[in-house]
C-alpha cells in the first residue's frame, strides 16, 4: 500500500515536471533565440533596502530600463555563495545587455565569470576588475566626504562646539575612503573658518565602527555616546545602521525643544535630507544610479549602436563627473519628485519637507554654505589643497587603504 503511494507520488512528480513546459499557462521559458533586452542587476547580500548602493543601483537600472526600452531583471543573493551561480546563470541566458554587480563583494565573482563569458558585458560597482568586458565603476567618496567634513567643522565653529563625529558600518576599505576624506575636510574646514572669522578652532573628531550595516540600534547608541561627548555633527557611513544616527540626533534636538538641529546628522549615498527634515544638514551623495545608468549606456553604445569600440576599463565618478556631490535643496526636490512618482512620498509632504530643510539651511550663515560648495568646485580640478601637511592628492594616492594606512592617516590628522 505504502509503496503504491510512494510510486504514485513519484510518477505524479515526474509527470508534472515533464508536461509543465507544454502547459499553456506557462509563459515561454525556453525561448529559441534569447532576446538581448535586459539590464540585469545582481545585488550583494545587503540586498535592496540598504539605503545605499543597492537601492541607488535599482534607481539607475530602473531609469535606464525606461529610457532605453529594456527590461530590468533583478537578482538578489541569499548568501555569498550565490554570486557566482547568479552571474553564471544570467550570462548563460544571453539575454542581458549588461550585468551589473553591485558592491565590492561581487568583484571576484565578476572577474571569474567575465573570463568564462568574454562576450558578455559586465559592470562592477565599487570594485575593480581588469577585463575588457568589465566596466569598473569606482566613486571618489573621499571628495564628497571632504566637502561635508569641511561643512561639519565650520558648523561646529559657528555653534562654538568642539566635536564632530562619524559612525561607520563594517570595517571595509571603501569606508576608509569616506573616513580619510572626512577627516581631511574637517581640518580644511577649520582653516577656512579661521580665515573667515579669525577664530582658531581645533575640532575633536570621534569615529566608531559599529560593525554592522543593518542595526540602527547600534547606530543610535553610538551616536548618543558621541553626543554625550559633545559632538554636534555626526556623519552617517553605515547603511541602514545610519537610521539610528538620525534618530539619535533628532531626539537630542527634540529633547531641547528644537524642531531643527543642532545637533545634525550628515546623510550618505542617497540624498537623505528628507529622512529627518531639519536634522540632516546635508548628504554626501554617491550616485550609484549614475554609475549604473552610464554603464548601461556604454554597453548599448558598444554592443548595439557600435559607436564605441572599447567597453572595459575604469569609470571613476567623482565630483567632476557628477557622481559625487553634497546635496542641495534642488537635489532634494528631484528626489522627492521621484518619490512622489513612485508613491513613496505623499505630494502634500513635499512642501513641508522642503520648508523644514530650507529653514534649517537658512539657520546656518550663508557664507558657510558658500565656502563648502566652493570647496566642492575646487576639488573638481585642484587636488593640491593642503592642510596639516597633507595634500588632498596625497589621500588619493593612499587608495586602496588598508587598516594600517588609515591608522597612520588618522594619527597624522589628529583623530582620536
Amino acid at each position: 500500500m505504502v509503496i503504491v503511494i510512494a510510486v504514485l507520488l513519484v510518477v505524479a512528480a515526474v509527470a508534472i515536471y515533464t508536461f509543465l513546459p507544454t502547459a499553456p499557462t506557462t509563459t515561454p521559458t525556453t525561448p529559441t533565440t534569447p532576446q538581448l533586452n535586459k539590464i540585469c542587476i545582481v545585488y550583494d547580500i545587503g540586498g535592496r533596502g540598504d539605503l545605499s548602493f543597492n537601492d541607488m543601483a535599482y534607481l539607475g537600472g530602473d531609469r535606464a530600463a525606461r529610457d532605453f526600452n529594456l527590461v530590468l531583471t533583478e537578482l538578489q543573493s541569499r548568501s555569498e555563495s550565490d554570486y557566482l551561480p547568479n552571474l553564471r546563470t544570467l550570462s548563460r541566458s544571453g539575454e542581458c545587455v549588461i550585468i551589473v554587480g553591485v558592491g565590492f563583494l561581487l568583484t571576484d565573482a565578476i572577474a571569474q565569470v567575465a573570463d568564462e563569458y568574454p562576450n558578455q558585458l559586465f559592470a562592477i560597482i565599487d570594485g575593480y576588475v581588469d577585463k575588457p568586458n568589465v566596466l569598473s565603476v569606482l566613486f571618489k567618496e573621499h571628495e564628497g566626504s571632504a566637502v561635508v567634513g569641511a561643512l561639519a567643522a565650520m558648523i561646529a565653529g559657528y555653534y562654538n562646539k568642539t566635536t564632530v563625529g562619524v559612525v561607520l558600518g563594517m570595517e571595509i576599505p571603501v569606508l576608509y575612503k569616506f573616513e580619510a576624506g572626512y577627516y581631511w575636510g574637517i581640518r580644511y574646514g577649520q582653516e577656512i573658518f579661521k580665515e573667515k572669522t579669525g577664530r582658531e578652532i581645533n575640532v575633536k573628531i570621534l569615529f566608531t565602527y559599529t560593525g554592522a550595516f543593518n542595526d540602527p540600534a547600534r547606530g543610535k547608541t553610538a551616536t548618543e555616546a558621541m553626543l554625550g561627548e559633545g559632538a554636534i555633527v555626526v556623519y552617517n557611513v553605515a547603511g541602514a545602521t545610519g537610521l539610528g544616527i538620525f534618530e539619535a540626533v533628532a531626539e537630542a534636538g527634540a529633547r531641547e525643544g528644537r524642531t531643527m538641529g543642532p545637533p545634525f546628522g550628515i546623510g550618505v549615498d542617497a540624498d537623505q535630507d528628507y529622512i529627518k527634515p531639519g536634522f540632516i544638514i546635508a548628504s554626501m551623495m554617491k550616485r550609484v544610479d549614475v554609475g549604473v545608468y552610464t554603464a548601461t549606456k556604454k554597453a548599448l553604445n558598444y554592443l548595439i549602436h557600435k559607436n564605441e569600440t572599447k567597453f572595459g576599463g575604469i569609470l571613476e565618478l567623482g565630483i567632476a563627473e557628477g557622481g559625487i556631490a553634497m546635496s542641495r535643496v534642488e537635489d532634494l526636490e528631484t528626489f522627492l519628485e521621484l518619490g512622489i512618482q513612485a508613491g513613496t512620498i505623499k505630494p502634500q509632504d513635499k512642501e513641508t519637507i522642503l520648508n523644514a530643510v530650507t529653514s534649517m539651511r537658512n539657520s546656518i550663515p550663508s557664507w558657510i554654505w558658500e565656502e563648502a560648495y566652493k570647496l566642492q568646485e575646487t576639488l573638481k580640478t585642484n587636488k593640491s589643497l593642503e592642510v596639516m601637511g597633507i595634500k588632498f592628492s596625497d589621500i588619493e594616492a593612499m587608495i586602496p587603504f588598508t587598516a594600517d594606512t588609515i591608522a597612520n592617516l588618522r594619527s597624522s590628522l589628529g583623530v582620536g
Partner: protein
C-alpha cells in the same frame, strides 16, 4: 551636571532601551518553554511584529494601536507555532527556523508592498510612543513589571503551576484535567505577544523606524537569555540588564578616543558576549531546563 554623572545617566538610559526587547522576548519564551514549547523563531517574530506595528501606527497615527497590532502579530505567529507544536505535535525547532526564514522574506516584501521603498520606513512622529520625562520609555517600565508579574504567575499561582507542569511532565498534568494543548497554545501565544511587543518597542519607540533586519540577532540573544536565567523571568530581567548594559557600554567605549588605539574595535565588540559567558560560568552555573521542553506531548 557633571560629565561623569551625565555619562552614567546616558548609559543607564541606553541600557534601559537595549535590555527591553531582549528581556521581553526572553520572558515570553520562558513562559512558552515552561509550558513545553520551544520557539526559536523569536528573531522572526520580533521583525514581523515590528513591521505590523509600523504599518498600523503609520496608518492610524496612533502609537498605542500600533503597539497593539504588533503584539497581535507576534501573538498570531505564536498561535501558528502553537497550533503546529501543541496540536500538530510538529517539530518545534524546524517550525521556528521556518518562521525566521519567513520573516526574512515577509518583512522586506511588505515594506516594498506597503510603502514602495525598499528596506525601511520611518514612523511618523505622531505614531511614536511618547517618553516619560523625555528619556524613559513606558515600555521599559512595563517590561520590568511584566517580568516580575510573569515570575509571580509562574511560581506563585495555580495557573503557573499548570504551565510549569506542562514543561516537566505533561502526562501528569493531562490526567489531572489540565488542558495540555490549550494551555501550551496560550503560553506560546503569550510568548509570541511579548516578542511582538519587543518588536513594536524597537520600531515605534526605540528606533522610530522599521528596517528589514530590525531584530539583528536579538532573537537569538534572547534565547540565550532564557537559558542564562535558568528559565526564571526575574533572572531574565537581571540577565537582560547585564547584557544590555555591557552592550551599551561597548558602543560607548568604541566612541571614546584612545580606546581603539589600545584594543581593536573588533575585539571590543566581544565584550558583551564575554561578560555574559563569564557571568554564567562564574556565578550562574548549572541550569536545569524544563524536562519535556521541546518534546511534543503524544498521548498513548
Amino acid at each position: 551636571m557633571s560629565y561623569v554623572l551625565s555619562t552614567i545617566i546616558n548609559l543607564l538610559v541606553s541600557t534601559s532601551y537595549a535590555m527591553t526587547p531582549l528581556t521581553l522576548t526572553a520572558v515570553g519564551e520562558i513562559t512558552s518553554e515552561r509550558a513545553g514549547v520551544v520557539n526559536i523563531g523569536l528573531e522572526g517574530m520580533i521583525s514581523v511584529s515590528a513591521l505590523v506595528s509600523v504599518a498600523v501606527a503609520t496608518q492610524t497615527l496612533n502609537p498605542w494601536l500600533g503597539l497593539l497590532a504588533g503584539v497581535c502579530a507576534g501573538a498570531l505567529i505564536g498561535f501558528i507555532h502553537g497550533i503546529i507544536s501543541a496540536y500538530g505535535k510538529g517539530a518545534q525547532i524546524i517550525s521556528g527556523v521556518g518562521i525566521n526564514i519567513f520573516a526574512l522574506g515577509f518583512v522586506p516584501y511588505m515594506i516594498i508592498a506597503l510603502w514602495g521603498v525598499a528596506g525601511y520606513k520611518q514612523v511618523p512622529e505622531a505614531g511614536r510612543i511618547p517618553r516619560i520625562a523625555g528619556l524613559v520609555s513606558p515600555i521599559f517600565i512595563f517590561c520590568v513589571l511584566i517580568a516580575i508579574a510573569t515570575h509571580y504567575i509562574l511560581f506563585r499561582t495555580s495557573l503557573g503551576l499548570k504551565i510549569r507542569a506542562l514543561g516537566e511532565e505533561p502526562q501528569a498534568a493531562d490526567t489531572l484535567g489540565v488542558h495540555v494543548e490549550r494551555l501550551q497554545l496560550i503560553a506560546t501565544v503569550y510568548g509570541g505577544a511579548l516578542a511582538g511587543l519587543a518588536g513594536a518597542f524597537m520600531s515605534l519607540d526605540w528606533l522610530g523606524t522599521i528596517t528589514k533586519e530590525i531584530a539583528a540577532g536579538r532573537g537569538f540573544i534572547s534565547l540565550a537569555l532564557v537559558v542564562f536565567s535558568n528559565w526564571k523571568p526575574s533572572l531574565a530581567l537581571l540577565g537582560g540588564a547585564l547584557f544590555g548594559s555591557s552592550w551599551a557600554l561597548t558602543e560607548w567605549l568604541k566612541v571614546l578616543p584612545g580606546v581603539k588605539g589600545v584594543v581593536p574595535v573588533t575585539i571590543i565588540n566581544t565584550l558583551p558576549y564575554i561578560v555574559t559567558l563569564g557571568t554564567v560560568a562564574g556565578v550562574i552555573g548549572r541550569a536545569r531546563p524544563p524536562r519535556k521542553s521541546g518534546v511534543p506531548y503524544l498521548r498513548e
